[in-house]
Assembly symmetry: C2
Homo-oligomer: 344 residues x 2
């Protein structure tokens, strides 16, 4: 799998790069002209034949040039991109960071803006998944007497207000009573993730009905129902550059992508894929995830906030995209996001 001698690597790299440049199958003659390899076209042809046999490149038809296969791209990304060349121009790097810094305040807007910036510099589709709501750590809950039997309930995490709702109790209670109940609930559940909190409440409500007074039990129940669920119906948070789709995707691919975006199950699969390992990674050929999305690739990276809740941000483009530019771009953006989120 990995035993390609130096000469073959060199040729493969040249093929991939010129294919990325020209978007046209690469023939042996053309290659000798573009790259100053000290070899004749005939020799290149021999090497190409070997590379094809090994599955790294293929011919669209007899007597066309060669095109990298998925395996070819994979190898290129993994072994042929040297670290040193993966740097962002300092101009671009500054531009990315600055744009983001101006949106520090609001997390959702920040993530949206990150996707927007990424798509506008890459000219590909940018997507960002917000941090999983369920993993947010609860700081405290607050009940505020509002009007008659109505109570304003607020869920607060380190990142700010998570959820708030006006709910209606069956009886009128004083603010002091509410405070007492809140204090009790906080003592038991603050510090947990929302998911854990919900689960624990469910258990306790069943087991120890008698432990709580009526009000506390009521509020606990309400608390549980207020915790936002990962419904899968909420719209995709950061999504930008859909109009670039027409530049690099076919009708079929566009349909596939748009459907995936609306569907949201796509995002879940995606998250599974990438959450396995941290850092920036490249998915070559997305037909594994969504059929009809072959020929498309993804460069994606994870970011995280102070409380270690993490999301992902990246781009979707043609498999023949310029990885040398795109990888550092995504990487930088994700790191900038992490920096800003952690500071807050």
């Amino acid at each position: 799998m990995k035993k390609l001698d130096e000469r073959r690597k060199k040729i493969l790299k040249a093929i991939v790069q010129s294919y990325i440049d020209c978007n046209t199958p690469i023939g042996s003659v053309l290659l000798t002209k573009m790259y100053p390899i000290g070899l004749s076209s005939a020799t290149i042809r021999n090497i190409m034949a070997k590379l094809e046999e090994a599955g790294y490149i293929s011919q669209p038809h007899t007597s066309a040039g060669r095109v990298p296969t998925e395996k070819g791209y994979r190898f290129y990304v993994d072994n042929l991109l040297e670290e040193q060349s993966l740097t962002l121009s300092s101009d671009l790097s500054r531009e990315l960071s600055n744009k983001l810094r101006s949106y520090e305040k609001n997390n959702n807007v920040l993530i949206d803006e990150a996707a927007k910036t990424l798509s506008s510099v890459s000219h590909y589709l940018a997507i960002a998944t917000p941090p999983k709501v369920e993993d947010i750590l609860l700081k405290r809950i607050k009940f505020i007497k509002y009007e008659k039997r109505q109570v304003l309930t607020i869920l607060i995490s380190d990142e700010g207000i998570v959820e708030n709702k006006i709910i209606e109790l069956d009886k009128i209670h004083s603010q002091a009573q509410l405070d007492e109940a809140a204090m009790y609930i906080n003592s038991k559940f603050s510090g947990l993730s929302l998911k854990e909190a919900r689960e624990r409440i469910s258990n306790q409500l069943i087991k120890e009905k008698t432990l709580y007074n009526r009000l506390t039990a009521n509020l606990l129940y309400i608390f549980k129902n207020i915790i936002p669920q990962e419904t899968g119906s909420q719209p995709l948070n950061g999504l930008s550059g859909t109009s670039y789709l027409t530049d690099f995707a076919s009708m079929k691919q566009i349909k596939g992508i748009l459907r995936a975006i609306e569907d949201k199950r796509f995002m879940l699969k995606l998250l599974q894929q990438i959450s396995a390992s941290k850092g920036t990674q490249v998915i070559v050929g997305m037909d594994q995830i969504i059929p009809a999305m072959s020929e498309l690739s993804m460069v994606i990276s994870t970011f995280s906030s102070k409380s270690l809740v993490s999301g992902a941000i990246g781009i979707i483009g043609p498999t023949r995209m310029n990885y040398m530019k795109m990888i550092p771009m995504v990487d930088h953006t994700a790191k900038a996001l992490t920096k800003i989120l952690s500071k807050f």
Copy 2:
């Protein structure tokens, strides 16, 4: 402009409808076969020549059939669609209403869901603009002492909580002090629209600096800044069925539409267009609004909530869509939305 005799109307209607059905230019012979008009193809040809001269239909090229022009569609929609035929099957009507009723709770989700339903039954792109934030009527503002100098500020309207934020004051104040300031502010501004409120505060802060004590002035200032602005950057609220685009739009059109959606200025233009008159209306040929969107039409309707704040919901499809089905669909959905929103 309107003086088409009965026979010509009949022919125009037949042309438009069969073009909608077949999506192919309609010739005189074909027409006589499909519709039992008591006329021969030669006669039809004569009439067609007149209709073409008057600008209602056109030929893609000599010796192809005729295709309706925008003017032709316009006339068809305005004069040739009889009221009686514009009814929804009761099945579909029930389906639409039921689906919506299950989302009564949350306005934004409700509107999203309405768009989703609309796109899934029409197979076209559905869009919905949420009510203008600026027109929401302010019910009251509330300041809640939170922690040390921090204060939780909540904006409430008839529809529920509009905005909330934790802000930081320069000094510590008691809840009583905060309540007093809130009471004062409420007495002055509750009942106004958010827009009006903001404007008035600006004026008063300039003119009557001396009238308020330090805290009230501070809170007024904060209040003003918290009022959500129509920034144009917030993502489009209800948008569904983008993947259907590939079924009826060309690459160019898709690009145009996607760009418009991301841009949001599109929505403003749109709202201007339709807010002029209430009810369901048809925009034939959207190149007026967005160039590159010719051949596309829109069926859109307004809806409103209790406090008369109104939004719009509709579909975008090919100009040759089936208006007889689409108009009642959109109409019904908008009415159902209004019903649900008013009840709440």
